[in-house]
């Protein structure tokens, strides 16, 4: 009998706080990503090696994706979107390690990610348009739309959370069932499919976050002359 993916797995406690397995996995991922980043970027050169070229390609592609969605300098959005992409991707793929459950299969993790996107959307919107401008964007195209726009702010982030949770959790759940019923090697095709699903979900989450932020800062384009945007691009 496998454990329900909807229930937590407290490994240890720090005082009254129970540390879930997903948190520990995230710490490991943070350590791995941080150490890997430090290892790769500690000796950056103008004539890049293979690893540095791959990393630069990732960053450049990320910048291009941001630039294609939001006009202007991509550096403002690169840390958030890049972190979301890398974290969700590594978290989803961590299921390939035996005994490791992806943190994104936990609703708390996806909720935390969705909350970050929600807050970032509001923050970027206010920063780009000002508080009044941002609030006024809810009245577009008509004041009648204010309630719907307000609800949309919540529901779209909620859907963001549920989509990621549902896809990853279902994958883990299916693999667990098949593993229980069929045997050791049978779930391998499903795990390979999980690789694709995990990458797609990471991309979708990051792109949707980018689109949400882009819709929040879309008034910013009215302030900047197009030529300036093209130059930055």
């Amino acid at each position: 009998m496998i454990q329900s993916p909807l229930s937590g797995d407290i490994l240890f406690s720090i005082g009254p706080l129970g540390i879930d397995k997903a948190v520990v996995t995230t710490w490991v991922l943070i350590g791995a990503l941080g150490f890997g980043s430090w290892t790769v970027t500690r000796r950056l050169t103008l004539r890049p090696g293979k690893v540095q070229a791959v990393v630069e390609l990732v960053v450049t592609t990320l910048d291009a994706q941001i630039r294609a969605t939001i006009a202007g300098e991509p550096a403002r959005f690169r840390p958030l979107i890049g972190t979301l992409l890398l974290y969700i991707l590594t978290a989803n793929w961590s299921s390939l390690i035996p005994g490791v459950e992806p943190p994104t299969a936990r609703l708390e993790t996806d909720a935390a990610l969705a909350l970050i996107v929600f807050v970032a959307t509001i923050g970027y919107g206010i920063r780009a348009q000002g508080l009044g401008g941002y609030l006024a964007s809810f009245a577009r195209p008509s004041w009648v739309m204010i309630p719907l726009n307000l609800v949309e702010q919540v529901t779209r982030n909620f859907s963001l959370m549920v989509r990621l949770f549902g896809n990853v959790m279902s994958g883990v759940f299916v693999i667990g069932i098949v593993l229980t019923l069929a045997g050791l090697l049978v779930p391998i095709p499903l795990m390979a499919l999980d690789l694709l699903t995990g990458a797609v979900q990471a991309y979708i989450f990051a792109i949707l976050a980018l689109v949400f932020i882009g819709s929040a800062v879309e008034g910013e384009g009215d302030k900047n002359p197009p030529r300036k945007q093209e130059k930055d691009a």
Binding site: A22, S37, W38, P48, L84, E108, A111, A112
Partner: protein, 238 residues
């Protein structure tokens, strides 16, 4: 299903910490190195453009220098041609002047030579005349002596010639001046002739000649002078 707010909080913080770590150790350094490379590329492009502009400027300067060199070469050639023309003209003028001087000198020398030759000719002619006169005069006898010298010349002739002259018609004596009867008789006696005519011939200058229609015997200063002159001329020609 339950929602663990502690896990939610931890994951919230974890993601933010990861964001900070990746920003510090990954995105910022990589973006900086990319920006640095782009800056260096731009700088290299700028330097390349500057070098290209410098090269174009150098090419223009070289072209300008080439034009200047061409102009200087043209000037030098023109100056050299002018100088050569001037030198040629000067040399020609000098040559013409020298030639004129040589011609003048040659003319003067020729004139002097002609003058000297004329003087020498005159001197030689005078000397010749003097020799001729001396020789002629040295062989001339006194007034009565011409008859005796005519007799000797007549006697020296071969007999047939002498007989032809003496038997010739119109036998006569010729003298540059009229002879007196005594002189005429003395001459006939010296010649052994009984009679003979007489004629005056001033071309004889001096002397006495016997003439007939068949011959004559010269015995005059004019004949001596002529003979001596022909002898001297033949001697000079030899």
């Amino acid at each position: 299903m339950s929602f663990d707010w502690v896990t939610f909080g931890f994951q919230l913080v974890n993601v933010l910490v990861l964001l900070a770590i990746l920003q510090h150790f990954l995105f910022r350094p990589v973006a900086e190195i990319i920006a640095k490379r782009q800056a260096e590329t731009q700088e290299a492009l700028r330097r390349a453009e500057a070098a290209e502009q410098d090269a174009e400027a150098a090419e223009r300067a070289a072209e300008e220098a080439r034009h200047q060199t061409e102009a200087a070469r043209h000037d030098v050639l023109t100056a050299a041609q002018d100088e050569a023309e001037a030198q040629r003209k000067a040399i020609l003028d000098a040559a013409r002047a020298e030639a004129a001087s040589l011609v003048q000198k040659a003319t003067a020398q020729a004139q002097a030579t002609v003058t000297g030759a004329a003087a020498e000719t005159l001197t030689r002619a005078r000397d010749l005349a003097e020799v001729i006169a001396r020789r002629a005069l040295s062989a001339q006898p006194d007034g009565a002596g011409y008859a005796a010298r005519l007799a000797q010349a007549l006697a020296a002739l071969p007999d047939d010639q002498r007989a032809a002259i003496l038997s010739g018609a119109n036998l006569r004596l010729a003298a540059p001046a009229p002879l007196s009867a005594a002189d005429r008789a003395a001459a006939l006696a010296t010649l052994g002739l009984e009679s003979a005519g007489f004629e005056q011939d001033q071309s004889l200058i001096a002397g006495l000649e016997l003439r007939s229609d068949t011959g004559l015997v010269h015995n005059s200063l004019a004949h001596d002078l002529d003979r001596i002159a022909r002898a001297l001329t033949a001697e000079a020609a030899a």
